[in-house]
């Protein structure tokens, strides 16, 4: 019958068409099977490989893990697995040349199992090599996505500085740390003066640009790795800095104010100045002095409003 004829394949055809490297290594470590996939990715053709000792064939480049797998199979009849996570690239195999760039070493997953000779029962080792470049790529992509998500969750989308959520979480930690270690903690509240009239006069796109510029300027004033600068609300920013003496904190608050004034961003409708200005409230919690650390946030808020009342573009220190 014709159907019988059309379904006959030689084993060699199948072996050479699978998308997998196949090697069989016999008892004396000689290669007895080497498929086309192996020739393609190793640059060693079948004629060179057959009957060769696999260790010399790869010029001593075999890894300890691969050699242990061979030993387990040939001497103990035990199968092994070499995961690409722990070994990356045990055999010197390369992703195919695409003409333009040099071939790159292929990440692999290897399975070594045992074949028993039908005649003698002697074990040989069947080695299956699969290309894990796609899973390596997918893994890297997932990792970079998860990093990006983590970053997004704590960043203010408009200004690129930390967001309110990040500040709230870290503020609690900083307060706990300061009260436990009896160390100083300074908090700064910064609010752009007459921002609504600014938006009305210059438009929201320009308003956003100004927010971005103010944010990056404030952030640039931070000096210590533990300082945190975040966008607290619409045109309100908050800065946390541990370990400053009161006069140092006052100095920093003044620098924050002047750094914004020096940007000289025109603001025609501001009754305070001809450019964009900020009002700053600051308070430093000092252990063993009057005042609860829990009232720090309320304190700087009041100080900032006090600065507004006094005519804006100034610093008010809450004692």
């Amino acid at each position: 019958m014709s159907s019988n004829v059309s379904h006959e394949f030689s084993t060699a055809q199948v072996v050479n068409n699978v998308n997998l490297g196949l090697i069989v290594v016999a008892q004396e470590l000689q290669v007895v099977l080497w498929n086309d996939w192996m020739s393609r990715h190793s640059g060693i053709v079948r004629e060179q490989a057959l009957q060769q000792n696999i260790v010399t064939l790869f010029g001593g480049q075999l890894t300890p893990g691969f050699l242990r797998g061979l030993n387990n199979a040939l001497n103990y009849g035990l199968p092994s697995l070499l995961s690409s996570a722990l070994h990356r690239s045990p055999l010197p195999l390369y992703v195919e040349h695409d003409g333009s760039k040099a071939a790159s070493r292929m990440p692999q997953s290897i399975i070594m199992s045992v074949l028993h000779s039908a005649e003698t029962g002697a074990p040989s080792c069947l080695i299956q090599v699969s290309d894990s470049s796609t899973s390596v790529k997918r893994e890297k992509m997932l990792m970079s996505h998860s990093d990006a998500f983590k970053r997004d969750a704590i960043t203010d989308a408009l200004t690129g500085i930390y967001n309110r959520r990040f500040f709230d979480e870290n503020y609690l930690l900083a307060v706990r740390h300061a009260s436990r270690h009896r160390s100083k903690l300074s908090l700064f509240m910064i609010d752009i003066d007459y921002f609504k009239p600014y938006n009305d006069r210059y438009g929201h796109i320009q308003g956003d640009k100004t927010l971005q510029l103010v944010a990056s300027t404030l952030r640039a004033q931070m000096r210590h790795p533990l300082d945190i600068c975040a966008r607290y609300g619409g045109e309100e920013f908050i800065l946390l800095s541990p370990g400053l003496a009161e006069e140092q904190a006052t100095g920093l608050a003044e620098r924050l104010r002047s750094s914004i004034a020096e940007l000289a961003i025109p603001h025609e409708t501001s009754p305070t100045a001809t450019h964009v200005t900020v009002s700053v409230g600051v308070q430093t919690w000092i252990p063993d002095q009057a005042g609860e650390i829990s009232s720090l946030l309320k304190g700087v808020d009041e100080a900032m409003y006090h600065a507004k009342k006094l005519g804006r573009n100034q610093v008010v220190v809450k004692k």
Partner: protein
């Protein structure tokens, strides 16, 4: 009931500690730091007696790697690790920054390899010391609950089956984890194993 004599238990514990030593060496070589692995205790239970409490496994999810092996005696060898601990170890081995929630196929494959290394080391030590040859299937990885595991041993074995429970201590620089290596075998296979252990004892005593 005491299926194995104290001397036989000591001999088997020694065999598995030799295996643990081999596995530790292999793991150290892969990770590039010192790994200590030991098998402090071993007990034999009737499969029908198996319950989560008898297995002394804590509640939670387990990563299991199993291999079926055949030879002078047949058994299913299952390695159990608390999932979170196992993944921490694998992550340390891989140097990956991924969170445990992002169980990636990479880690599963690495987990299978970790199990394969420990199982192969135990089986090869057994082969060397007891003078036997074993054949084994490839490692199979799965996640199971404590109850799944107890049911699997109790149900699978039926009457007259035994399980050999080995406690495993795995210490890496930053992590310490405990696991179990469990062999499920029929009473015939257990008797053959005992005969081999007896022969081994005769050669060294």
């Amino acid at each position: 009931m005491n299926v194995l004599s104290e001397m036989e238990i000591d001999a088997l514990t020694e065999v598995f500690n030799v295996g643990a030593g081999r596995a530790a060496l292999t793991l150290s070589e892969i990770i590039g730091e010192e790994v200590m692995l030991s098998v402090p205790s071993l007990k034999v239970l009737n499969a029908s007696e198996v319950s989560p409490a008898v297995l002394a496994v804590r509640d939670g999810q387990f990563a299991t790697v199993s291999q079926m092996f055949t030879g002078p005696f047949n058994a299913e060898a299952v390695l159990l690790f608390t999932e979170n601990y196992a993944l921490e170890i694998v992550r340390e081995m891989m140097g990956s920054q991924m969170s445990i929630d992002d169980l990636a196929e990479f880690e599963q494959e690495a987990m299978s390899e970790l199990g394969n290394i420990i199982l192969n080391a135990s089986l090869s030590a057994m082969a060397d010391m007891l003078g036997i040859t074993l054949n084994s299937s490839l490692p199979h990885y799965s996640i199971s609950s404590r109850q799944d595991i107890a049911d699997r041993f109790a149900g699978n074995g039926g009457d007259g089956s035994y399980i050999l429970v080995l406690h495993i201590d795995l210490v890496l620089q930053k992590h310490h984890t405990e696991g179990h290596l469990i062999f499920l075998l029929s009473s015939t296979s257990l008797n053959k194993l005992i005969a081999h252990v007896q022969r081994y004892l005769d050669t060294i005593l």
